[in-house]
């Protein structure tokens, strides 16, 4: 699933020491770009994707033939206007859309599986930093991303404090909560409990833990939506039937919807990548990297921050986003914050939420004018 010819790849020769202690080198980072880099090279925006995203932010994803995951926000004349900005996004390491991950082969030409080193959010951004050198960009205009993308935004500006003018973490957290870890563990257990998982060696065994991965996706999908949103969209509506069937078929539309979400996910995502990336999220605790003081993570940056949360997001709720605002204010950083009214849950940042998209656009465009 990772050698499609539509995938652009940067081979990173520089060795990268991972948090787990291992060092990787000569590894691929798959990326995509939109718009064009201007002559001053001051219009680049690095977008970080979430758990199941990839480098195909906008337009049509050439691998899945579906719209890019952030098509509402990125494109010509959109909030992140590709007529104006040069957008770069890369697949995280550990992922399955071309970047170095568990479906790749080790130096002995054996598929890694769970022998791939455990990676962290810190490792992901350190790997992606190589893209700046590749494009000859000294300083990005902005970095942004939602959910796990937001975690990478926070880690990136902490690691490279003078490498972006503006910083936009969206619907995210500086530290994965017990509830977040619990949901991820549920997903991992679903995968590893599938007998086709074969201790991670399913490819060489010619099997696929699709059922486990689908259940993981179904459970996670519920956490991306709000109760109100689900109720309004599905309620107790029945799926193509007049009455209950007194069996275990998908009687309700919500069941059928979740099953569908699970099944299409299996076609585009690697089960081991799911394990690795959720683990990276669980390990994320930026404050812990600075002896419990989150403000310390940002003390060397003069970047302008804009933090956005959503009212109905219970996975990364407003308060966790506000904790980042508080940490920034306590060191006098330049930080704006808005909570967007939306009943679409955590997924709001991916959807057509006009207040969100206009706030994002206004912040970017006004900040760019001041450049």
């Amino acid at each position: 699933m990772n050698t499609e010819k539509n995938i652009k790849t940067l081979i990173v020769n520089k060795p990268l020491k991972l948090d787990c202690g291992k060092t990787i080198k000569d590894f691929p980072i798959a990326y995509e770009t939109y718009g064009s880099l201007n002559s001053k090279k001051d219009n680049a925006i690095l977008v970080f994707h979430a758990l199941t995203g990839d480098q195909f932010v906008a337009g049509i994803n050439p691998v899945t033939n579906k719209e890019g995951w952030w098509s509402y926000a990125v494109g010509p004349d959109k909030a992140i206007d590709t007529n104006k900005y040069f957008v770069i996004c890369s697949n995280v390491i550990g992922g399955c859309m071309g970047s170095y991950g568990p479906s790749h082969k080790d130096p002995e030409q054996k598929i890694f599986g769970t022998n791939f080193p455990v990676i962290t959010i810190n490792d992901m951004v350190n790997a992606q930093y190589n893209l700046l050198d590749h494009f000859g960009i000294d300083k990005l205009f902005s970095i942004t991303g939602g959910s796990m993308g937001g975690m990478q935004v926070l880690q990136f500006i902490s690691n490279f404090p003078d490498k972006s003018k503006t910083v936009i973490p969206i619907a995210t957290t500086s530290s994965h909560s017990a509830q977040n870890i619990a949901f991820n563990e549920l997903g991992r257990q679903a995968i590893t409990a599938d007998s086709n998982w074969k201790d991670g060696n399913y490819t060489s065994n010619d099997t696929n833990p699709g059922k486990g991965l689908a259940v993981a996706r179904m459970a996670a999908h519920i956490t991306y939506l709000s109760k109100k949103g689900l109720q309004e969209k599905f309620g107790r509506k029945l799926q193509e039937r007049e009455d209950l069937k007194f069996g275990f078929d998908a009687d309700f539309q919500i069941e059928s919807y979740l099953r569908y979400q699970g099944s299409v996910f299996v076609d585009r995502f690697d089960a081991n990548s799911y394990l690795y990336i959720t683990r990276a999220m669980d390990y994320f605790d930026l404050a812990k990297q600075f002896n419990g003081n989150l403000s310390e993570a940002f003390k060397n940056t003069n970047a302008k921050f804009f933090i956005i949360s959503f009212t109905s997001d219970w996975l990364y709720p407003t308060q966790e986003n506000k904790d980042i605002v508080i940490a920034l204010n306590s060191i006098g950083a330049d930080v704006g914050f808005v909570e967007i009214e939306s009943d679409k849950g955590h997924d709001s940042f991916l959807l057509d939420v006009p207040d969100f998209l206009s706030a994002l656009k206004n912040f970017l465009d006004k900040s760019y004018e001041e450049n």
């Binding site: 306590s330 060191i331 930080v335 914050f337 808005v338 207040d355 706030a359 206004n362 006004k366």
Partner: protein
């Protein structure tokens, strides 16, 4: 722009760091940023107003002054502005102390309940006063703790808060308030503007 904002802007030197608490649509912030090169931040409770500020390119935090001022370190701003909002807080005394903690100086403006039109309204009509600065009905006003210029003047003195400048505003005219003309200003000004420090 409101004359009040002009008077506030005149109190602030160039190149200062300023927090506008209850910054509304950001009119004053924008003016200070453009004309005084102010490093300006806003705190605003209304989402709609926050969006208006963002559209103007202003740095604003959606939040509630009664809860969210505590995240700012001591004396982290040269000035903290509170325009016609003190009377709407559940605990104006605490908010005032917070303003004076966060700002080296604070600029507080209050709609004057001692203004003659307010007094006349209550005296002759016998109903709750409605004026230009107090436009709401008793049942929908956000104002919980109305005070007069004299009340505020006495209050800050009693709390050992230093008054650098106090101004009475009536339409387009602003004039200095002092101990000797306090009674007159309290009658003829519809707005009091105080530059204070603790």
């Amino acid at each position: 722009m409101k004359n009040e904002f002009q008077v506030i802007a005149d109190l602030i030197e160039k190149d200062k760091k300023v927090l506008d608490v209850g910054c509304a649509d950001g009119t004053l912030m924008k003016f200070l940023k453009d004309n005084k090169n102010t490093n300006i931040r806003g705190l605003e409770i209304s989402k709609e107003r926050v969006h208006e500020c963002i559209a103007k390119g202003l740095t604003v935090i959606e939040g509630n002054a009664e809860k969210d001022l505590k995240q700012f370190p001591d004396k982290s701003f040269d000035y903290v502005i509170l325009s016609q909002t003190l009377q709407a807080f559940l605990n104006p005394e605490l908010v005032l102390y917070e303003l004076l903690r966060v700002g080296k100086k604070a600029i507080v403006t209050i709609p004057n309940f001692g203004y003659w039109k307010v007094r006349f309204h209550l005296l002759f009509k016998g109903t709750m006063p409605i004026t230009k600065t107090l436009p709401d009905e008793w049942y929908n006003t956000p104002n919980l703790h109305m005070c007069t210029i004299k009340d505020f003047f006495h209050f800050v003195k009693s709390k050992d808060i230093k008054i650098f400048k106090s101004l009475a505003l009536n339409n387009l005219n602003s004039s200095i308030i002092n101990q000797s003309n306090l009674g007159v200003k309290n009658l003829f000004a519809d707005l009091g503007i105080f530059l204070i420090e603790k």
